[in-house]
Symmetry: C2
Subunit: 89 residues, 2 copies
């Protein structure tokens, strides 16, 4: 997936080394219908992510681009600290 590597790597020049989580969604429609899907998924996917990592709302960037045939959503999260769900059972 080198095309992805280059895509995701393009912003890596940040001075502070932090974990980062990026999510890109694209809904490509064969017909002309409007897509509300991306907008619906945005919130729920963020909820899913927040279950697993601590997310500072200030560190979340969301871009949405709704075109006639394709809707796209980009979520960029700066992870303050990697917090894997501790298995202490």
């Amino acid at each position: 997936m080198s095309f992805l590597t280059s895509l995701f790597g393009r912003k890596t020049s940040a001075p502070i080394a932090r974990d980062r989580l990026q999510i890109l969604l694209a809904h490509e429609r064969a017909g002309e219908g409007q897509s509300e899907l991306i907008a619906k998924l945005q919130e729920e996917i963020l909820e899913v992510i927040k279950r697993h990592i601590s997310v500072d709302q200030d560190k979340v960037q969301i871009k949405m681009d709704r075109g006639a045939g394709v809707s796209m959503l980009e979520i960029d999260i700066e992870v303050p600290e990697a917090k894997p769900a501790a298995k202490t059972a």
Copy 2:
């Protein structure tokens, strides 16, 4: 977001016009730690999607690529029929 357009547009040559939903996740880690995050998110994000559209399991392609510094996940779903949640209230 033209870079996304070109990225997502690259497979559009399928003979049958269908709706398609693509999700790309990348977890970029500043440290050397392993990332289980992507693997965790995969299933839950699919669950979120299935709440909104009918997904044929055969039409879901998942690629995961776990590197030392970045883990990536690509989910590609062919949507059999756009089924927005009908608001019949």
